[in-house]
């Protein structure tokens, strides 16, 4: 069922060959505005992001903490729409054929767009994978199976509540990589201990050969390095979004210097990840 030799597969194979873990950087599509977001997106690979998660804005982000809630509402207020999100990916792809882009979000905007139309347009734009928070294995017929059939990876979340009995169901129709949510909670909340993460990654590896990325609660280069020692990739979202937020004026508009400042922070995270196993 897995989509082999996708851009995501190739990227993880390359990271393995380099003997290091990857950095997955998250930003929200259209935050703080379309053009600034595109500049950020284009700059992420150069700053050291190995994969990019691009958030699809939604009014009701039930699994997200305050930072990403605010980010998604800023994007919507600035005119974000699904078509515009796909435009960002298309524009990014014109200059980058290798860095995987994963769209992350909630199901309703995809459902409203129409699943078949969404998959066709996403594939054409250059989207490689999907993470949809409110689609557990029990709802695989909705988007997961059609995505795999369309050649788009569907990346599942495993969590601290995913026990041995449930793990096979979570792994069954997953491709690209597994995203381990290291805490029971929302994005940007507390963080798990290195030991707990190592144990969880080992638990996942017992059931799959897919790469394991770990996210939730990673806020510093050091934290990213700790994860990079035991997992195949570290995912950072809220911390990057908070850095963006710190570069907004009182009206929520981008201040000059936002893009280099955020990319500089991503560079520090990347340095943490790249130095972790030395």
């Amino acid at each position: 069922m897995s989509t082999t030799n996708s851009r995501i597969d190739r990227r993880f194979a390359a990271l393995k060959a380099e003997g290091r873990a990857g950095l997955v950087a998250f930003i929200t599509a259209g935050d703080p505005d379309h053009d600034t977001c595109l500049d950020l997106l284009k700059g992420l690979p150069g700053a050291g992001a190995d994969l990019i998660e691009l958030g699809m804005p939604f009014t009701d982000p039930m699994a997200d903490g305050p930072a990403i809630q605010a980010s998604t509402l800023r994007a919507l207020a600035a005119g974000a729409r699904m078509t515009r999100t796909l435009d960002l990916v298309k524009a990014f792809r014109e200059g980058d054929a290798d860095t995987p882009i994963i769209l992350m979000g909630y199901y309703n905007p995809v459902y409203a767009y129409g699943v078949d139309r969404f998959l066709a347009d996403a594939k054409t734009a250059g989207v490689d994978g999907l993470i949809v928070v409110d689609l557990p294995p029990e709802e695989d017929g909705e988007l997961c199976l059609p995505a795999q059939a369309a050649g788009v990876n569907f990346i599942r979340l495993a969590t601290p509540t995913t026990d041995k009995a449930r793990l096979p169901a979570v792994l069954a129709n997953t491709s690209g990589f597994i995203y381990y949510v290291s805490i029971a909670g929302i994005t940007g909340a507390g963080s798990a201990t290195s030991d707990a993460i190592a144990a969880a990654v080992a638990h996942l590896r017992s059931g799959t050969d897919l790469p394991v990325a770990v996210g939730f609660g990673i806020t510093t280069p050091q934290g990213a390095a700790d994860v990079a020692r035991v997992a195949d990739a570290a995912v950072v979202g809220s911390a990057i979004v908070r850095r963006l937020e710190a570069n907004l004026d009182a009206d929520g508009k981008a201040k000059p210097g936002l893009v280099p400042d955020v990319l500089g922070f991503v560079g520090q995270l990347a340095a943490g990840v790249r130095g972790a196993r030395k």
Binding site: D60, A63, P136, E139, T161, A184, I186
Partner: protein, 402 residues
């Protein structure tokens, strides 16, 4: 569509037709599977039923009366109107029926902390009440906007020992309170039980809440047969998420001669866009764990509902209602803020009963419909809550300063 029964749903995946389901984050998935297992076991356990029966009778005060509203009937000059007096329950609304059921389930599952969302505050008060009764700590999420318009219920919850957490995200009403409760649940998976207040959310909640509320319809059935020697002709109830309506309707779904009318909140009028009528003005989507009719824009972003009644101000509706709507078993209509306000005052003056603004929407439909029907037509309206909590809102609308 013709079916042998309208009471078979949901299927094992929690679907009513295409509606319902389990659209939740993976972290919550094992929890709702556990809940389903625990509920399936409890449902058939005589000890659980006996315990529920005890509290519903001794603590809530059930059965609630089915009262013949003679003066209102005479004024309207048509159908014979009966009020199902859910507003006489302890805490003043139907919400407590469900809370008793869920807290007993929480106890069975060994959970030690309760969370809930609330709009008008009736479900929050009912939840805080059962938590006091069973000595469990409880956190209630309530939108800032709702807190401002439902002050008496906020104070009530605090008196009962609950922590009321104001929700400042999004539209700061019921939908955002539900988002925040889900965020709490996903963070506190080990010890926390989420008492959802209506027939919505991920499976098994819609079925579980419906079953706990069905005592309303079961009682009406017995009471009407005892009083009139036959079943009612029409049932009327207001609908936000839909628990009081489904509680009344469900036991009658397979009685083909019983008509059912559910009344959504039309706010300032459907045509203005400022309403909370998901079935009349929305389309199917996925939110809060289930597929159902939602108020949303063309991009799938959720729109804010509007109703004078905080309890109906929700952009969705329970999935079983979406299905009953599509198969045509229940008729869904709407009433505006103004119609509800008129009905609120009319019942107060004519019957000496101050209804909740939510229930006033159902009464508005009764006022429209009853005069067109013959005098032997038996109409039951669910008086789902009392209006004491609403007097400040109503006074403001009427330009009276208290």
């Amino acid at each position: 569509m013709s079916l042998n029964t309208y009471r078979a749903g949901p299927d094992e995946h929690g679907h009513f037709g295409i509606y319902g389901g389990r659209f939740v984050a993976e972290t919550l998935m094992p929890l709702i599977l556990d809940l389903e297992k625990a509920y399936t076991a409890a449902k058939d356990d005589p000890a659980f039923k006996a315990e529920m029966g005890y509290y519903l009778n001794q603590y809530v005060g059930r059965p609630s009366k089915l009262y013949f509203a003679e003066r209102l009937t005479n004024e309207l000059g048509g159908a014979k109107i009966y009020l199902k007096r859910e507003e006489l329950n302890h805490t003043g609304a139907h919400k407590i029926n469900n809370c008793i059921g869920q807290i007993l389930l929480a106890k069975r599952m060994g959970k030690t902390r309760i969370i809930a969302e609330t709009g008008a505050g009736q479900h929050g008060v009912a939840t805080a009440t059962v938590c006091a009764l069973f000595g469990l700590p409880c956190t209630i999420y309530m939108g800032e906007v709702d807190i401002a318009r439902q002050q008496p219920n906020v104070f009530r919850m605090k008196l009962l020992g609950a922590e009321v957490k104001p929700v400042t995200s999004g539209s700061r009403t019921l939908k955002d309170a539900m988002n925040e409760a889900l965020r709490d649940w996903v963070t506190n998976v080990g010890d926390t039980f989420y008492i959802i207040g209506t027939t919505a959310g991920p499976h098994p909640y819609p079925a579980l809440v419906r079953d706990f509320q069905s005592i309303i319809g079961h009682e009406v059935r017995e009471q009407m047969v005892a009083m009139e020697g036959r079943l009612p002709d029409t049932l009327v109830a207001c609908i936000g998420g839909g628990s009081n309506a489904l509680g009344l309707f469900y036991p009658f779904l397979d009685d083909a001669d019983v008509a059912m009318v559910a009344v959504e909140a039309a706010g300032h009028g459907i045509e203005t866009g400022a309403h909370a009528a998901s079935l009349t003005g929305g389309r199917p989507g996925v939110l809060h764990g289930n597929r159902t009719y939602l108020l949303q824009d063309e991009d799938g972003q959720i729109l804010e509902g509007h109703s004078i009644s905080a309890g109906l101000d929700y952009p969705g509706i329970g999935p079983e209602h979406s299905w009953l709507h599509d198969v045509g078993r229940v008729t869904y209509v709407s009433a505006t803020d103004t119609e509800a306000l008129d009905a609120f005052q009319r019942l107060s003056k004519v019957e000496g009963i101050i209804p909740a603004l939510e229930s006033s929407h159902a009464l508005a439909e009764v006022i429209r419909r009853a005069p067109t029907l013959p005098k032997d037509h038996l109409m039951v309206v669910n008086l789902s809550g009392r209006g004491d909590k609403d007097i400040f809102t109503v006074a403001r609308e009427l330009g009276v300063s208290l």
